[in-house]
Symmetry: D2
Subunit: 150 residues, 4 copies
């Protein structure tokens, strides 16, 4: 309960701007990579199958991100993912990224489960929801029945 999913990625040349630091939109690529790897390795649902076979997607509803310190070419970025709130179809994620223990960014990021066939938000599939529950429980998180859908 309250599991944290951690991944580490090298900061690539392609992530960096003329100041030699990660250009902020590239951080969102890295957060999406972490989401993919969480599905693949944390939830044991192959993200490509989720999209291509189950015809579901995870569009971003909103993101609130604070950039706390820069990341530079050659750094290793550690990203921790937990769930703050598990709704009916929405999932509020908490990303904390750091470099050698120094906080780099903090992001509250809401996605929903979306059918690419009906083009509507749909409830989180039960088997997936059961696995996601393991990642709920960080301080301030909740998975109450009263959660409202997106």
């Amino acid at each position: 309960m309250g599991k944290v999913f951690r991944v580490e990625y090298p900061i690539r040349f392609s992530h960096c701007d003329p100041a030699g630091q990660v250009y902020f939109p590239r951080f969102f690529d890295l957060l999406h990579d972490a989401l993919e790897d969480w599905f693949n390795s944390g939830l044991h649902v192959r993200f490509a199958d989720f999209l291509l076979e189950q015809r579901l997607g995870t569009p971003t509803v909103g993101t609130h991100c604070d950039f706390l310190s820069p990341a530079r070419f050659g750094d290793t970025l550690a990203i921790d993912l937990t769930i703050l709130r598990l709704g009916n179809s929405s999932i509020e994620l908490d990303f904390n990224a750091s470099i050698d223990g120094r906080a780099c960014l903090k992001c509250r990021h809401t996605i929903c489960i979306f059918s690419t066939q009906s083009l509507k938000a749909v409830p989180i599939p039960e088997a997936l929801r059961a696995r996601m529950l393991d990642y709920v429980g960080a301080p301030g998180g909740s998975a109450g029945a009263a959660d409202t859908p997106v």
Copy 2:
């Protein structure tokens, strides 16, 4: 007073994901493009000179973005930029993007003025601040002297 800076960009193939919609990190590229064009055409400060000659930058302190409806390949995205709050070195921008009048995203986005020589936040240069004042004044915005720096 309360001027709005508007730019329009085509949604490119390169912005779109396997669902045929803008992959959300690419929206932040487009918001940064709008920031550049605001400097160039709205504030009449060449952004490349600002960075390369004045040795100043505009790192992102935080961004709060709600994605309201999808943008698809072939759409034209109109981005409106105003200032919500002008601090000592920080600037809180309000981006509203739409497609044919349909709201697409709303983003409260805070940057600061940063010296790439001292590697510290610095006050907004006075001449730049004077030009920025024109864009303050949307409902809820302020440019009061009591504003705290970043």
Copy 3:
């Protein structure tokens, strides 16, 4: 006969690497933007409709690109497009990009027309082919009937 399609794009912050120059993969984004704009404005075929309604695509078969001089943040890149060879389903494009008349890159770039339904290369639609013929004729180009398909 032998028309040249020219577009100009600003070199954006997002295109540039820690050396302050365009990171070479971003040039290919810009060449693809030029291809899109050529369809839209040169061939008068809306590229988004071509993909989404006609269900055709233009995958890249190969690209041979020489980078002749750097492009920097704030530069304006002019891209000239002509056709070197018009095959049955393949099109060999010639891109020449320059900055204030200084050659920046030269790229021989081959695409083909591809059905995203049959997942096969298909002949260039006749109406499109007729319009493309205007852009054939640079030295070395050809549109002979003996051209082999991809």
Copy 4:
């Protein structure tokens, strides 16, 4: 002699276009990632130090790439790197990328060693050259003394 450097990367959502396949400019990002990892793990020269401390870079002189079959979201791309030709300051690399043994792309890619201080091509540092020699020797490759600089 004739060593091959191999890396494998997952094809990410962010690499893929509306057809669900890797958008070709993203392949060049992946080739650059392979180049970085070759420096770091194959040549045992930390690429970030090479750039930031040694003030050297590896600009691309030219690239000849044939795209042989598509890569799709969820695939694992294996990239093999060898040296075709080791010049005075230039290095001609041979990239072969495949998915489960199916050839995906083949790229002859020329970089040079460049000083970001003098802004000129410089000879490959001797210690680096010695390590690079291990990767020369694929059919058609050479490292002869008569090689001309870029």
